[in-house]
């Protein structure tokens, strides 16, 4: 285990050490201590390594992650795992706004609650939230899946494209062009898989979820829909 004291050695040294791992496989277990809410911890990693951050992180932890599994043993600030490409980010605590924003792949697991705009503009990432998600979550979400064991705030899935949203609890309101859709067999299977990978299979069952997606009425401009924008 490579242990890195962020308080002593600094962000630049951490990230340049992690970036140097590209192509290497012998140093696969990393631990970051004293994160103290620093920004951009483990941003831009591109290696199949396991990184455990012992504490809470600031903005953009694991930003643009590729391949790595990054565990945050605390809560995460805004934009955690933004634009993630692959790999996994697992947060023991809560996540601030824009969690998983524009993410293109990989798995983001939030064991606490996620704040507003979770999954905004997402492009293929899978997100599993054990708690609740805040308002405007999945705004303009393009593709990927979001599974929420708790409740969703206002305007869920506003201006949604082809992302799929599964919520077990209540939805305060749906955003423009977002509607409830039928849960078919493939959706039960999808939720089952995501619950398992999201370490939530002991907490919920697929049949407890409802599915939300795009009504596709705003895909092409029509003046009679102007009030929806």
């Amino acid at each position: 285990m490579q242990s890195f004291d962020l308080g002593k050695e600094g962000l630049r040294a951490l990230n340049s050490s992690l970036h140097a791992l590209r192509g290497q496989t012998n140093m696969t277990a990393w631990e970051v201590i004293n994160p103290k809410g620093a920004h951009a911890i483990a941003a831009g990693v591109d290696a199949p390594v396991d990184i455990t951050v012992r504490g809470s992180t600031g903005y953009y932890c694991a930003g643009m992650n590729k391949q790595a599994t990054i565990r945050i043993k605390g809560s995460a600030g805004p934009g955690v795992a933004e634009n993630m490409m692959s790999g996994a980010v697992i947060i023991d605590g809560d996540a601030s706004q824009y969690a998983g924003a524009t993410g293109r792949g990989g798995l983001l697991v939030i064991k606490g609650n996620a704040s507003s705009r979770c999954g905004i503009s997402m492009k293929g990432i899978d997100i599993v939230v054990h708690g609740n998600i805040g308002h405007m979550s999945c705004f303009m979400a393009q593709s990927g899946n979001v599974v929420v064991l708790g409740n969703a705030g206002e305007s869920l899935g506003d201006s949604l494209y082809e992302a799929r949203i599964f919520v077990r609890g209540t939805v305060k309101s749906l955003g423009a062009d977002c509607i409830e859709k039928e849960m078919r067999d493939e959706h039960f299977a999808l939720v089952e898989d995501l619950l398992r990978r999201g370490e939530a299979d002991t907490k919920a069952k697929p049949e407890e979820f409802r599915r939300y997606g795009s009504a596709r009425k705003l895909y092409n401009f029509n003046i009679d829909n102007a009030a929806a924008y």
């Binding site: 920004h39 591109d46 953009y60 805004p78 934009g79 634009n83 490409m85 524009t102 092409n220």
Partner: protein
Amino acid sequence: MTEFPKTPPRYSATFTPAVNAEIRRAAASGIYDIRGGGTKRHLPHFDDLLFLGASISRYPLEGYREKCATDVWLGTRHAKKPIHLDIPVTIAGMSFGALSGPAKEALGRGASDAGTSTTTGDGGMTEEERGHSKTLVYQYLPSRYGMNPDDLRRADAIEIVVGQGAKPGGGGMLLGQKISDRVAKMRNLPKGIDQRSACRHPDWTGPDDLEIKILELREITDWEKPIYVKIGGARPYYDTALAVKAGADVVVLDGMQGGTAATQDVFIEHVGMPILACIPLAVKALQDLGMHRKVQLIVSGGIRSGADVAKAMALGADAVAIGTAALIALGDNDPKWEEEYQKLGTTADAYDDWHEGRDPTGITTQDPELYQRFDPVLGGRRLKNYLKVMTLEAQTIARACGKNHLHNLEPEDLVSLTIEAAAMAGVPLAGTSWIPGRNGGF
């Protein structure tokens, strides 16, 4: 009965035939007019400025013998690998999607041969432009279409787009006709939809967040790449100051003459300021912070000739960017396609319905039949020629003003032809020492 002369028909200056035609069009269609390009209205512009040239009090440099350098460094504030360009005329961001693949290739070829940079756009980085651009600036836009760390690392600079001159406060637009299979795949969108890009970034708001976003991009790219921040000409003093505060290496400032692939006409014509009014405010912000020439300023919006380049630089810019002019150099709106323009209900030099994807020149389309008309090698050659001419023109003026580098041009070399331009550019009205508004705030 006596016949009196009749009052001749008189058109209203308010309800002109053009205004009335637009009212009728809106009433019939129920949708605002969408078009490409920049503002078409008359504005105070570089044409309203003149250079004084050398005389007894200044002496000029010999036109073909004495050196007048044109190179520019960009990103020297924080980047480990700043950019060094041979000429201070760069190619502005234009998306693959808005432009065809061959058109992006031609921009790369022409710019690289002329010693300058090209810029991606709201559609991600294509192999055509990376492969043919020696220096490529990668735009970081609210939509983040195609955004990925590998392209960030193979870019030569990163441009965080906050706004653009054609539509400060507005997002991108690419209508269904141009969302081909390839464009849809790159943007991760369903084919054929009317795509509207967000106007705000999804994961930051305001200057304090921007500072952290810049930190993240620097960390991801190991502090190698210059980071530009592009703003539309709205509040250039404060926006420039805030971009500098957030850590930008370069500020890109786009006036309302700057083009767009597609936006509401009402937005293009009524939001933002002309570039002439923007440059002095941005330069003042840099000077007030002690950062002029440390954070470089690239300006764009209506740059057409070496004279425009020289005037922008005399006002304090480090470099300029061209978009519309580059497309025209490639062949856009060429009268040789007049017959086809007529079929589209328009005429050469006025065609702006690029969003419809039926561009006869093959430049602003995703239709293979049309874009195969366009020869990227010839297009690149034409762009190179044009960039070389602009540079020679700017050098001609600089030498006449006694400057051995384009960067040595200064406001003192300029006078204004109109009171409006004098007030906006902050250079005296010709024949006077009067700068309206000076000592009266700005």
